[in-house]
Symmetry: C2
Subunit: 369 residues, 2 copies
């Protein structure tokens, strides 16, 4: 008997993982990390009200979640001053990006992103056979003008832009993003990933009309809301685009416990404000640790600080390796010239003291190799 | 400016929902159901140990779940006497069926299922442009011989078969399924949906070698384990097939809380045994209620009892409508001849007494229309 054949496209894909989990590394090392500050998570965790809501929902976990995510979408719509028909809830931004690519990209279609930007978007584009065109960062920023010019040049159907950016932490004023859209070619859609925007300065969220068909923006409960382990993200945009997700999404994909947790988190503004302050404090401390070691912290509007190690990618990779050897879980940008940096998530004061203690030794060891 | 264009395939799809949630009906009705016995959920809920594990994991919800689902896959592998490389964990069987179709079906490829079988599988096939061929049930059973003969006739790449079946509740002996595979055409893959198999008589799970490339079987924590609201399912099969899911799956799609809950549930054999007994008692009670009303319960190995209302689809739809009007949430098979039946999930004794009280009035009202 012959094994069934994958599609030619599926057969051509690697069995890849966009990110190796820290658990995988811990299993390989045989010991846990002391500070888990590599995955852009919020160690400050969910709101106590969200924890209580999830615990209460546990007993209801025998029921499928509402496939329309009605209560959560209604609350999100109210919070953003849009209609529920402008909101799609899904299995994290990762899941929603997959749906988005599936809706728009046939094999051979052009897509534009920045070289070094979010790998999971690239994974989805490859997964549906899209052809990815990459433009360079400009001064460690994703650059809307360069991105949109490339989109015009290659006839792209989709452009990915994160604001604030991951992995560099840099950002643009929202009004600049909105103004740059004038150069977007007709019929091209911008996937504007605002995963970190709650943590950014006022005015970072772009003032774009919800009915503007050129943009879909993505938000998440994984970052400022501290619930990466729940898997709840959402997209916002014009109704025809949002409705199209209903053609293909896993309708029951966001479970009852996750919906309950996200709804309670959304309603706890006080806790969100506290988290934003804690993240800002931790960013400042991380920047100070970098400077104390003669390194250059990049300004950050995200949940991490990207630190220029002052040399090339090989050196930064050596620093990363030495930090990991000292039980500090961190990651770094994958592409040049960003790979001269390492990226450290905002941790607890204890996490950051562990970083402060380990970094001088890691740097010395990296310099000695 | 022009709105970006969906792919031709996406554009051709309806914005459908395979199942309307009971919450949607409750919002439309303006009042809750008294008995939620329509969605094939387990009202007996998760194991208390799973509830405790989920509550404990809540505080860890700030961390992404392990993208390899290592601990859960290892435990599942041990439970089934296979390797972790034979197990893929995903966002419910629904999510995994979507990935499976994506891996194997190009536009125009033939797929075979039974007329009236699981609509969400059909949704995924349509979503990837597959051409669905339907064969009839035989004596209210999905029929492997008919399915595999049709697969040979149309050159199908995939065949869907549920054992036990939903929506009829009927089942085949596992040895009969295994023997029927001899007639499967070369290069065709069987998606064997065993969502209810823990609740079925001993010997219902087909004795198929894990390395047999012709079959992938699906299991879930949504039914016997009582955690539909968590969204954890898994597939089991030959390593090359299982590994292929890594090409396209949402690696972080199963969250930390969900993994922890599923793992604890899997380890609580005592609770599973208790649930199986409760489901069996409830099936017997539902069968008695049907007979008390002059209706014919079908034998069931699932979490529901399908009841032949003794007339045609119009009559069964009228009975369904009258039950819903009396605050009993139930569903029914969509296709003839199964649509002469209604389908009632096993509920608490109180749920079933509400059914017993409402059914005579619903039948009388249906007969009067």
């Amino acid at each position: 008997m012959t094994a069934p054949k994958l599609t030619a496209l599926a057969d051509s894909l690697p069995s890849t993982v966009p990110f190796v989990g820290p658990e995988t590394q811990e299993r390989a090392r045989g010991r846990p990390f002391v500070a888990r500050v590599g995955a852009n998570e919020s160690v400050f965790g969910p709101s106590p009200k969200a924890l209580a809501a999830m615990a209460a929902a546990g007993a209801d976990a025998w029921m499928y979640g509402d496939p329309e995510n009605h209560d959560l979408r209604t609350a999100l719509a109210e919070a953003h001053g849009v209609g529920p028909e402008n909101i799609v809830v899904g299995e994290g931004i990762d899941g929603l990006l997959g749906y988005l690519v599936r809706l728009f990209i046939c094999e051979g279609d052009a897509v534009v992103t920045s070289d070094g930007a979010y790998p999971t978007f690239n994974y989805h584009v490859a997964g549906f056979g899209g052809v990815l065109h990459k433009v360079p960062y400009v001064d460690d920023h994703e650059d809307p003008a360069t991105l949109f010019a490339k989109a015009a040049e290659v006839g792209a159907k989709l452009v990915y832009l994160a604001n604030p950016d991951n992995p560099m932490g840099t950002w643009h004023k929202g009004t600049d993003i909105a103004a740059a859209l004038d150069a977007l070619p007709d019929g091209c859609l911008v996937a504007l990933d605002e995963a970190y925007v709650e943590l950014a300065p006022e005015g970072t969220a772009a003032p774009i009309d919800i009915n503007d068909p050129r943009v879909i923006r993505f938000r998440t409960f994984s970052k400022a809301y501290g619930m990466a382990g729940l898997r709840v993200g959402y997209g916002m945009g014009a109704e025809p685009l949002i409705t199209a997700f209903n053609k293909i999404r896993n309708h029951f994909g966001v479970g009852r416990v996750a919906q309950a947790g996200a709804l309670a988190a959304l309603r706890d503004d006080v806790y969100l404000t506290e988290t934003i302050a804690r993240v800002a404090d931790a960013r400042a401390r991380l920047a100070q640790i970098a400077r104390d070691n003669g390194l250059t912290p990049l300004p950050s509007a995200a949940i991490f600080v990207t630190i220029d190690c002052g040399s090339d990618g090989d050196f930064a990779r050596a620093v990363l390796k030495e930090l990991i050897a000292r039980d500090i879980f961190v990651r770094m940008p994958f592409a040049r010239p960003g790979d001269r940096c390492i990226r450290i998530s905002t941790g607890t004061p204890e996490d950051l003291e562990a970083v402060a203690a380990a970094l001088p030794h890691a740097l010395a060891a990296a310099r000695a190799t």
